[in-house]
Structure formats: structure tokens, C-alpha cells
Symmetry: C2
Subunit: 347 residues, 2 copies
């Protein structure tokens, strides 16, 4: 796992934990619920690997510690039960996956007591195999696939012409930077889709919620840009004031990428293993900027690893002041697009 380990969400249930600061993710998940139910109802055929097995396996990839994952798993199970009312003897097994450094102890303590499934946790990167062949009926992943397996090397290399100096993401960067991110994303998705193709049963479904950008835009116009701009601005300020070294800033980048739906569909078609049952863009207006607490929950680990923990309080204090009074973001600028993608494993 190595460098990936700094990417897990902040554990526990303290002030800055993911458990207490994942409202934007929850809102999007709520809005996806209707789509999820429709998806199951229209597309799911329960293909039993065996006439004697009545296990329905579900995985949530990049689940963090809850509560969002519990809500999503419940939605999926309700949808499956609704479609297969007659088959009252189905047993559900849910596999909660996240990186090894995720706080699974907290996840386990928070498991809903009256859940209708057998719970299991699977640690490891979803860019490799996590499950036996054809062992899952449904794969779900919500706002986790924006995390790349690693940064494209060149954007952090101070001696490369593609070094992404003075920025922390490819938004508003020269074309080469966006291309390096795109190439890393393509490589990662090939691994992701290849692994999932093996793990899903024939006819099994995979539902993905992904932050995306509008078709026809370049990566540099990424919808993620405005969300991370205030953080970038704080880091630049601190560098200008001599609190951080210029090299440290220049070599820091976020391993995050948001594709357009066309870009993603091409990558899916390339694998040849999935039918694309549905791709939808979810627009939204008046998205509040991420609060300081929400930012800490998602980014504390990666910032600490690069800059050291001593800058954290100062940085997030500045962040908090920087966003104070700013208006919410709007989708008319290509911001805040989420992609809902439903794939079906070919027979």
C-alpha cells in the first residue's frame, strides 16, 4: 500500500473525524437512492452461482467508517428485497472495503444493530483484487474513485517541465499537467475495472458515484477546481510569508481526478467486460463550500504526510477564515457535477 496509506479518512468520532463531517457525501447519497432503486429494479437478474446458495454478496468500496455506507447498504438491500419479494430466503453478506489504514474498529462499533446482513470488512486498495472470482452480486462505490492510486510522477518532479508548480491540482494548470492526471486515471481505472470484472458474477451490477466534469471540457476546467481553490490559496499565502518552502508547495499535489462521462465510458468500453446500463449527470446548485471540519476529515492525512503535522492548525485556521462569507458554488460553472454510473457484468 505504501504511500496510499495517508489517504484514508480521519478515523474515530472526534471533532474532525469523517464520521461527523460527511454531510455533503450524505446528501448526494440520498439523492442517489432513487436512482439506485430504479437501477436494481430494471437491471438486476439474480444469477445464482449455485442452486443451493442463496447468498447475495454486496461490496462497498471506499466505505470509510459510516454512517453513509450503512445507509447505502440498506438502500441496496431494500431494493433487492423489493424486486425479489418471493425469494424470502435470500441472505445478504456486505463487505465493507477501504484502505488498510481506515478505522475499521470504529466502523464495526457503529454497525447498525438491526442490520439485515452479515457484515465483513476487507482491507486494501480497490486498484487490485480484493475478492474471489464471481463472489459478488453487487458492487457499490460512492465518492471514492476520485482518489488516484498515486500521483503522476511528473507533476511532483521539480525538474520536469510538467511539474505542477504553485498549484495543488490540475485545475487551471498547463495542458501537460491535466494529461498526466488523465493518464494516471486511465491506468487506475483499467486496474479497477479489471479486478471488478473478475469479482462480479455474470449479470452482477456495479453502481458508481463519482465526482465528474462536464463533457467537452478539459481536465484543467475540472469541476473540482473551485472546491480546492481556497486551500491552494492558503498554502500559497503561507509560502509567500515564508512559513512553507517553495519546493514543498511546488511538489505537493492532490491525487484526485474527476473524469467526464465520455472519458469514463471510453475506459469502460475498453475493458470489454461491462454493459453500460446507465450514466447520469447529477447537477446541483448552491453547493456550500466544504467546511474546515469537512476538509480536515478528508485531507488531514495527506497534508500531514507532505508538510508535517505542525502546519495543520495554522493551515485550517486560515482556511476557515478564507471561506468565511463566500457564496456557495453553482453547477452552471461546471461545478459539483456527480456522475451516477451503472454497469452490468457481461455474461
Amino acid at each position: 500500500m505504501g504511500g496510499e496509506e495517508s489517504l484514508a479518512m480521519t478515523g474515530g468520532d472526534g471533532q474532525y473525524s469523517y464520521a461527523r463531517n460527511s454531510n455533503p457525501q450524505k446528501e448526494a447519497a440520498d439523492r442517489a437512492k432513487a436512482m439506485l432503486i430504479g437501477a436494481v429494479s430494471e437491471n438486476l437478474d439474480i444469477v445464482h452461482g449455485s442452486p443451493t446458495s442463496n447468498t447475495f454478496g454486496i461490496a462497498d468500496l471506499g466505505c470509510s467508517v459510516g454512517p453513509n455506507t450503512f445507509i447505502a447498504m440498506n438502500n441496496i438491500i431494500e431494493a433487492v428485497e423489493h424486486k425479489y419479494q418471493a425469494q424470502g430466503h435470500l441472505e445478504f453478506q456486505v463487505f465493507f472495503n477501504d484502505r488498510v489504514s481506515n478505522d475499521f474498529n470504529t466502523l464495526f462499533i457503529n454497525l447498525p444493530p438491526n442490520r439485515k446482513y452479515f457484515a465483513a470488512a476487507v482491507p486494501g486498495s480497490f486498484y487490485g483484487r480484493l475478492f474471489p472470482k464471481a463472489s459478488l452480486n453487487f458492487i457499490f462505490s460512492s465518492f471514492a474513485l476520485q482518489w488516484l492510486s498515486k500521483l503522476p510522477q511528473v507533476v511532483c518532479d521539480l525538474n520536469s517541465p510538467s511539474c505542477n508548480k504553485g498549484r495543488i491540482l490540475y485545475a487551471n494548470a498547463p495542458k501537460e499537467v491535466g494529461e498526466a492526471y488523465s493518464a494516471q486515471y486511465a491506468e487506475d481505472m483499467e486496474k479497477f475495472l479489471g479486478a471488478r470484472a473478475q469479482e462480479l458474477v455474470s449479470g452482477g451490477l456495479m453502481a458508481l458515484l463519482i465526482p465528474g466534469r462536464v463533457n467537452g471540457t478539459l481536465p484543467a476546467q475540472s469541476s473540482l477546481g473551485p472546491r480546492f481553490q481556497p486551500l491552494e490559496s492558503c498554502l500559497v499565502d503561507m509560502t509567500n510569508e515564508g512559513l512553507l518552502s517553495k519546493d514543498k508547495l511546488d511538489s505537493f499535489n492532490l491525487p484526485i481526478y474527476s473524469p467526464s462521462s465520455e472519458e469514463l465510458e471510453k475506459l469502460i468500453e475498453k475493458t470489454g467486460c461491462f454493459d453500460i446500463a446507465r450514466v447520469e449527470e447529477m447537477h446541483r446548485n448552491n453547493i456550500p463550500l466544504l467546511t474546515m471540519q469537512e476538509f480536515r476529515a478528508g485531507l488531514e492525512g495527506i497534508i500531514k504526510t507532505h508538510f508535517g503535522s505542525e502546519i495543520l492548525d495554522e493551515l485550517f485556521d486560515r482556511y476557515s477564515k478564507k471561506i468565511a462569507g463566500r457564496p456557495p458554488l453553482n453547477t452552471c460553472g461546471g461545478i459539483g457535477i456527480a456522475l451516477f454510473v451503472l454497469l452490468k457484468r457481461k455474461h
Copy 2:
């Protein structure tokens, strides 16, 4: 789970952690390796639930945090692979089970990097269902089934004639105390075996390592007695010196039980779901008394819950002095018997 939660082994990898203090368990597991290999070789028929599934599911119930569980899982997989060399396409999935309060984060961090299996963790008491029907091919449990799901009520009730006053276990206690423990054990094993019978495929194996006592002896002659006698003696000393209240001591008991093989076989036959493929008594001489560190790893949680954390350092310091210079225990007194039991799920 409730009261059971205090029973998990001490987590992390600090001085008193189970990870660093589980040598006696490891020695016994090493000695069981040969038996395990023989057991698989003579008794395992791979009954695929489905012609398309090549997953071989293994569970370790009461796994703690490693490293012993990793060694045991490796032994089982080697034995299965050895028997089924021709079927090189088997994929193994290992489910590590322990109570919700077990330190699964530590378990995950310590997973062997070159393991030949997909790893998953399943939290919860093994006295209830943990897995879907017929989803496992092999169930293993090593030195975990001595933990009862709860204490028999009467032995802690200061007003009951069966109250186990002045002792912390049924060893050397009046007959009624041993009977109350036996009855609780029978109730627990009925639940354990009933759940496992559903989870194992037909023809699947279950290998159990259990601390036992010699056939024909009463519970009061339990082989566990001498192991816990020094701890009991320290608690009695502290009560006599006024450091603990007499009621606290009188109402404290360990939820631990060791059956004879005859007793266990009767309980297994009663369920009607398993063929007993093998029962062996493993004797051993010169068993070192548990060290202070080993004791803390196993019992710190339960002692803290009953007496409060403030007594821990004093108690274990006394324990350390109490056992200093004592000779190791010998099996000729019925001490240190371990039972190796191999069951096969009936078709």
C-alpha cells in the same frame, strides 16, 4: 454483545498486548499443525456449492490480532493445496472473526504481505450466526471456545447458595458451582454448533483446539485451576488487606470453562449435524506458568470491568512476585490437556 465486550484480548502491539504475549498459544498451535495436515488429508472432500465457484472459504473464530492466526491459516491452506494439487485454480478467502472490541486495525496492519488468500474480518460473537448458509469450507478455532458467552448467573449472586465466594473459577469449588458452569457451557455449545452447522457446506470440516480436562474428572478438578490459582491468591490477599471489598471478590468469576472430551462429544452428538472425525488429547509436561505479561494480554479487560482500572498495576505486580521461582505445571496432575477435535458436517 454487551458484557462480552470486556473479553477481547488486549489490542495494539504494546508491552501488554496479545500480539506480543501469545507464546503458549503459539506452541500449542505448532503442535497442532501436524494434526491439521493429517486431518485435511484424510477427511476433506471439496464439495463445490457450484461448478463455477472455486472459492474455498475458511474462518478463524476468536482470531485475536495475530500472529498465531496467520500461521494457522497458512497451515490450513498448505494442507488443502497439498491434497488438491491438481486443482491449481482454487482461490482462498479467509474470514478473521473475533468480538467487536477486538483490535481489527492491528490485525489488518499485520496481515502477511505475501498471503495466498483474500482477507476479510467478521466482528461478532461466535455464539450466534456470523456467515451466510453453506458459505464456509473450513472452520477453525484455537483456544477461544473456553470463553463462555456469559457467566452462569448464580455463581455471582451473593444471595445464592451456589455463589462462588472467595474463588474466581469453579476449580476446587462445591459441586453446584461446577454444575452451573457446565450448564452454561452446554447452552453455549448448542448455540455455537447450531450456527456452524448452517454456515459449513456439506462435508466441510471444523477443527477446534480447546483447553480440556481429563475424562472421568469433575469440573472442580479442572485442569484450568492451577493456571488461575496464583491470580486468585493475589485477589484474596488484596481483599484480606482491605484493598478490595469482600463482595467484589465474591462476585467476581472468570467466564472460562474446559470440558472433558466425553462431555464435548455428547454435546456434539446431541446436535446431530456433525460426524466426529477425530478427538485427541494433547498432553504436555513442564508448562511454564503464564507470565505477568501473558496474563495482562488475556485478562486485563475483564478485571478492569469488574474491579476498576486502578487495581491493575498493583494486582499484576503482586502476580509477578507470586509466580517468581514457581516450577512449571505438569500434565500428570491433569493439567494442560488440550483437546483437538475434528468435525465433519454431515451431508
